[in-house]
Symmetry: C2
Subunit: 362 residues, 2 copies
Amino acid sequence: MAAEVRTAEESSDGWLDATRKQGAAEAHEFVTARAAEHFAGRGEGVLAQTALPAFVAGGKFLRPLFAYAGWLCGKPESRAALRASASLELLHCFALAQDDVMDNALLRRGRPALHVQFARWHAEQGWSGSAERFGESAAILFGDLFLVWSEQMLRTSGLDRTTLARGWDAYDLMRSELAIGQLADLVNDARALPSWEALLDILRRKSGNYTVRRPLEFGAALAGCGADVLAGLAEFGSLIGEAFQFRDDLIGTFGHPEVTGKPAGQDLRERKATSVVVLAAEMADRQQGAELAELLELDTIGDDEVLQWRVLISATGARDRLGELIGERREKALAAIDPAIFPRSAAGTLARLAARATGRTR
Amino acid sequence: MAAEVRTAEESSDGWLDATRKQGAAEAHEFVTARAAEHFAGRGEGVLAQTALPAFVAGGKFLRPLFAYAGWLCGKPESRAALRASASLELLHCFALAQDDVMDNALLRRGRPALHVQFARWHAEQGWSGSAERFGESAAILFGDLFLVWSEQMLRTSGLDRTTLARGWDAYDLMRSELAIGQLADLVNDARALPSWEALLDILRRKSGNYTVRRPLEFGAALAGCGADVLAGLAEFGSLIGEAFQFRDDLIGTFGHPEVTGKPAGQDLRERKATSVVVLAAEMADRQQGAELAELLELDTIGDDEVLQWRVLISATGARDRLGELIGERREKALAAIDPAIFPRSAAGTLARLAARATGRTR
């Protein structure tokens, strides 16, 4: 079946959910097999064999879906291409496992973070040494394994060597940018607020690229798409990536714990210089600016301070304005997908994914 | 030039040194280019651009040389194969950068460990937050980059796709074993001493395989060597890998700081259940066993305790016995290289490398 003849139904939400489910099952199966290969019959392996596959299964699976959407811009549906796309979820698991250690985040997807699970396990064994330190080291190493396994899953996806060869540059760029973006995040401290323009520059280099643009480019490169398609996807991907990040920042500030699986106001507690905080600072009047400066200097941020922050940010108008910016970017992104160039069903898939990535609540 | 016609001179120490130098230059050049590509013009990039290439250049380069020796068992000298072999040094840098964080080791190759360098840099910037924590996170992320770059250097080494395809299985196994071996090390605590047999099992799975056997198998797989060569290399590699680890443990216990670039008795201070300690426990008489048990229970291990440990270990005879075991394994390993199967010059290279890996002082 050629990409052009996919019916509208095949880019429906039902199709997207089924594709997501199948790709997630492939990733889960691959990690289960690797964990069994390396950990069967070993003490620390019991937890690894349950925790690692469960970790893979819990995500939104956005990056693989964007990669697969990129593929569908040039080639028909393919089980091997879906498997190659799903390998990006393992790359994401690598990032999450290690980020949670660096940010000392305790919850991930509503469950204890990997390092917390392994710290508890260490404590239960009654071993000497710091359980916390063990948990952190174990999570770093499991992150490393996810990084190795992602590439292994891609290489053994079933795509032939010529097809694979077209994707490596985009894949390598994405992996390097991912580590370098996290490094930039380490030096991103809300007490030294960047300007709005400087922040957009950071976003473009970090998660915006990593979540939307690079996966799209990777999938399209595998499919051998031409320069016009790649240019359209690059523009679409940059805009949706930014909108995704704005949405992520709104959720990290205003999201409900029972929906997000994370503590309320997590980003505020971690003093992240997010788009929400930076925009609030730019939009604040004199009185609000003074209040903001005071909050930024606080040593500890508890529930009361989170509430105070939220009220102040909303009062500056930053919350509403960010919503508008998301809408603007989504509109502009959709306009970058020229119907004369993109297959109709692929365009439909891109539009649906854009809505999912920027309109979500968790 | 076919492998069979390499002259004896070409497996001389001079040839080995020249090969080492050329391979190290390739690795240094690759990392310098990657660091410039990703870090040029960025604040945290100044240090990365000097520290990362310097980190690559400081090593013994054993793993690439074993890999290249494996290659020479089946194919003639090749710049591309040397480059592919040199990619293992980047894999080793990944392991070192992260191990030093997990072990809280402050020195590496006579210089401050990566995480220490980046912690100092953070402190110099006068930033808020923990400089130590920043240094650790940065070293983890630079480790990740080395892991990504190793595979990228291998894939872009210049070997054609058919040749590369023969090496991936061995490469993937090596990478997974590396992370899993470090995980096993985390649960290896001298206060719960394993038996000698259990320790050998750990060694075989950890650094023994990683340092000698897997690199040899990787190089030989790339070269398309037959089953008889691979079997010989597997036996040779296992034995030399163990002997390498015994030597490493002797150095970690008895080495001189000005030679090793590490604090005296580093392994003792870190309470590692090394071959030295385990063998001493097995060889101790009743009085010595009681003294050992007492030392194992100490909360802090300073210079005096290191000296006491060393005297006690020597008195059990474990130090001398370990030297004998190294010699025995080296002899047996050399016997596994059948002159009817292995090219003469490759056999010469293997013998020289075996001597370097097991007879070194640092």
